[in-house]
């Protein structure tokens, strides 16, 4: 099928109408602003303009700057992409799993993405030290160690990949674990970022050459930067705990009582505290001022109900120059009732 008869567009246009912009600045439609500062588009514009003797349209709609953007954008697509500049040794373009919003914010915070990076560790814990008597509430230290170590290996690989693509850190790290009867698969995915050249932040150059990791989204990362904090890295604490079963006697005695199950309370309390404490220790080891976005997750994996893994994970941060910078946000009240807001995705029947 041929691209289409240009004639078909005529009547179609009638109901189109760009939003009538106030400006009234008439724009030549094809070669909209072939300014030399254009990136990739620049080279192609003469060609685009020449190759297309435009059917004299209706009088040009007063175009907004945005509509001009649209024309420039389409012109850019008619050309070949500009060759990469910036001395990158890579032969491809830069991939990232940042959303458009995140990409914009990260850019404005003075950073740029360097590529999608991943880290994996498939781990088989030893059985030794990974069990406990039924009546005993105790930490399964070997298992705790294994779960922590495996995650550390995965993030280490993530950082190694980030370093390879020239990243100073990785944001939006998603750590996930899949378990089967005999092994755990830990994987970490994120986007490597580096400070943009000429972002004017030379004085705040990071001291360490270590690649940092963070599970903060691009948005949070940008905001954290604006507030005068620096990300030091992901910190985590793991505790795998065996919760004792009550003795049959206690169970019998308690059946008709309102009673706190102290055994279970203590066990769960203990293990949660242990995990959080370990995370704090890691943060202190990094010299952090604090840990943001801490999540404490509980999982039983394939162990059954009496063995629980607690994972405390967060991003260790420290102030850049010892002070918190206030970002003075505008206050906004949404008129929309969020509970009843229309979810466009729901309408589209996906996600």
């Amino acid at each position: 099928m041929s691209p289409k008869a240009p004639g078909r567009q005529g009547p179609d246009d009638a109901d189109h109408g760009d939003p009538p912009a106030g400006g009234g600045r008439a724009e030549p439609t094809a070669g909209a602003g072939p300014s030399p500062s254009n990136g990739p588009g620049a080279g192609a514009q003469p060609k685009a303009a020449g190759a297309q003797p435009k059917a004299p349209d209706k009088p040009k709609a007063p175009a907004e700057a945005r509509s001009v953007d649209a024309d420039r954008a389409l012109d850019a697509l008619r050309s070949r992409p500009a060759q990469r500049d910036g001395g990158s040794a890579r032969h491809g373009s830069v991939s990232s799993d940042l959303s458009v919003d995140e990409a914009i914010l990260i850019h404005q915070a003075g950073w740029e993405p360097r590529g999608l990076v991943t880290g994996v560790c498939i781990f088989r814990p030893y059985a030794f030290g990974s069990w406990a008597p039924m009546s005993q509430s105790t930490e399964l230290t070997a298992m705790s160690g294994a779960m922590h170590e495996a995650r550390t290996i995965a993030t280490k690989r993530l950082r190694a990949q980030a370093a390879r693509v020239g990243g100073e850190g990785v944001v939006g790290v998603r750590l996930s674990v899949e378990s089967s009867a005999r092994e755990f698969r830990f994987s970490a995915v994120g986007t490597a970022v580096t400070e943009r050249a000429g972002a004017g932040r030379g004085s705040e150059k990071r001291g360490s050459s270590e690649v940092f990791t963070s599970d903060l989204s691009g948005k949070d990362f940008a905001l954290l930067n604006a507030a005068g904090y620096r990300v030091l890295g992901l910190v985590m604490g793991v505790c795998v705990y065996h919760v004792a079963r009550q003795s049959a006697l206690t169970w019998m005695k308690n059946q008709t009582q309102n009673v706190e199950l102290t055994l279970i309370t203590t066990a769960l309390y203990d293990s949660r505290e242990l995990a959080m404490g370990r995370m704090q220790d890691e943060a202190l080891g990094l010299g952090a001022t604090g840990v943001v976005g801490v999540k404490v997750e509980e999982r039983t994996h394939t162990w059954g109900s009496h063995i629980i893994e607690f994972l405390a994970i967060g991003t260790a941060v420290s102030t850049i120059d010892g002070k918190h910078r206030s970002v003075s946000p505008q206050l906004a009240v949404e008129l929309e009732d969020l509970d009843q807001a229309v979810d466009p995705h729901a309408l589209r029947g996906d996600r």
Binding site: P11, A63, L74, L77, S95, D97, L98, G129, A142
Partner: protein, 324 residues
């Protein structure tokens, strides 16, 4: 058309008659458009000077060649093969050709330095057939999607959603179905493009992208598939007292991911400088002694048409209503 045979395979431009009829009846002068854009997306798209012209679909049902004579196929247990001290029992599979392995290959010699019963030479190798199958399937679906858009006179397609499903057809070889659905948009005053752009970004994101001086150039897809035929248990590293890493398997997964990302970045190079919003899917299929790690990622390559430093700094605001 021969009903038995269907259209010739691999002809990406062939659209079914029903599709052509739908496109012709709905499109063009006086016709109405359909779109699966939400109201907010519609207004965003209109705001930047485009209008929807119709909903477009591209799909392909694809059979992945049954390869690998050995039982390593799709991670089935390879008992009896993997232990013979052969090359892991993958037979004439995947990357194997008489001239050796193409693509990625790494051997894991038996740590005991022995050949024979009870010992195995482990291999990780790239499954090129599998990768080619997915790439081809993606290309076909995308070409059809674009053909539909071209038929509508569109400049591009936004909000492309894709679903990749295992069709579980009772044939011996696996069959996948890839569907892509999106909304074709056009800028009525502009000349058509040679190839309409495609993007999985929503209407709002498309508008924001244009505002920041970048334009989606096309959907890009990358896949990496690495089969791992386990060697001796010794491929574990005993780095600690608490457990052991299954190094060979880890490396297979890591390599699959690397291949996928490298492919997507390499392909996007033809289209633009960046790939945004990459969606990553990792799967590991496992048998007793072998596994296949595959990762596929899909993203939108974007091209810069002006410097986007002149974007106004967004306002930071504090929501006074509860988010939930």
């Amino acid at each position: 058309m021969d009903l038995e045979q269907g259209p010739p395979p691999g002809d990406g431009s062939a659209l079914p008659e029903a599709a052509l009829q739908r496109l012709h009846s709905g499109a063009g002068a006086g016709g109405s458009w359909t779109s699966d854009l939400s109201v907010a997306e519609l207004s965003s798209v209109r705001r930047v000077g485009f209008r929807p012209v119709g909903m477009v679909v591209g799909m392909s049902v694809y059979q992945i060649a049954l390869q690998g004579v050995g039982p390593s196929y799709f991670g089935l247990p390879s008992t009896g093969w993997g232990t013979l001290g052969t090359m892991g029992g993958q037979g004439m599979g995947a990357g194997w050709s008489p001239s050796g392995f193409r693509g990625f290959f790494k051997g894991y010699p038996c740590t005991h330095g022995m050949y024979g019963l009870g010992h195995a030479y482990g291999v990780n190798y790239e499954d090129l057939y599998y990768e080619e199958a997915l790439n081809d399937c993606f290309r076909l679906a995308l070409e059809r999607l674009r053909t539909e858009a071209t038929a509508l006179g569109a400049h591009g397609i936004v909000g492309v959603r894709h679903t990749l499903t295992d069709m579980q057809i009772a044939t011996s070889a696996p069959v996948i179905e890839l569907k892509m659905v999106g909304t074709a948009i056009s800028r009525p005053s502009a000349q058509p493009l040679h190839v309409p752009f495609t993007s999985h970004l929503s209407g709002q994101q498309f508008a924001k992208l244009l505002d920041t001086g970048r334009v989606p150039a096309g959907l890009v897809f990358g896949v990496g598939a690495v089969r791992s035929q386990g060697g001796c248990v010794g491929t574990m590293s005993s780095t600690s007292w608490s457990g052991a890493e299954f190094v060979q398997r880890s490396e297979a997964v890591q390599q699959a991911q690397r291949l996928a990302v490298d492919t997507i970045e390499g392909r996007a190079h033809q289209l633009g400088e960046q790939v945004v919003g990459v969606d990553v899917q990792l799967s590991i299929r496992e048998g007793a002694e072998s596994a296949m790690a595959s990762m596929y990622c899909i993203g939108t390559a974007v091209r810069r048409f002006r410097d986007h430093d002149d974007v106004p700094v967004p306002d930071v605001f504090l929501r006074l209503s509860d988010a939930r």
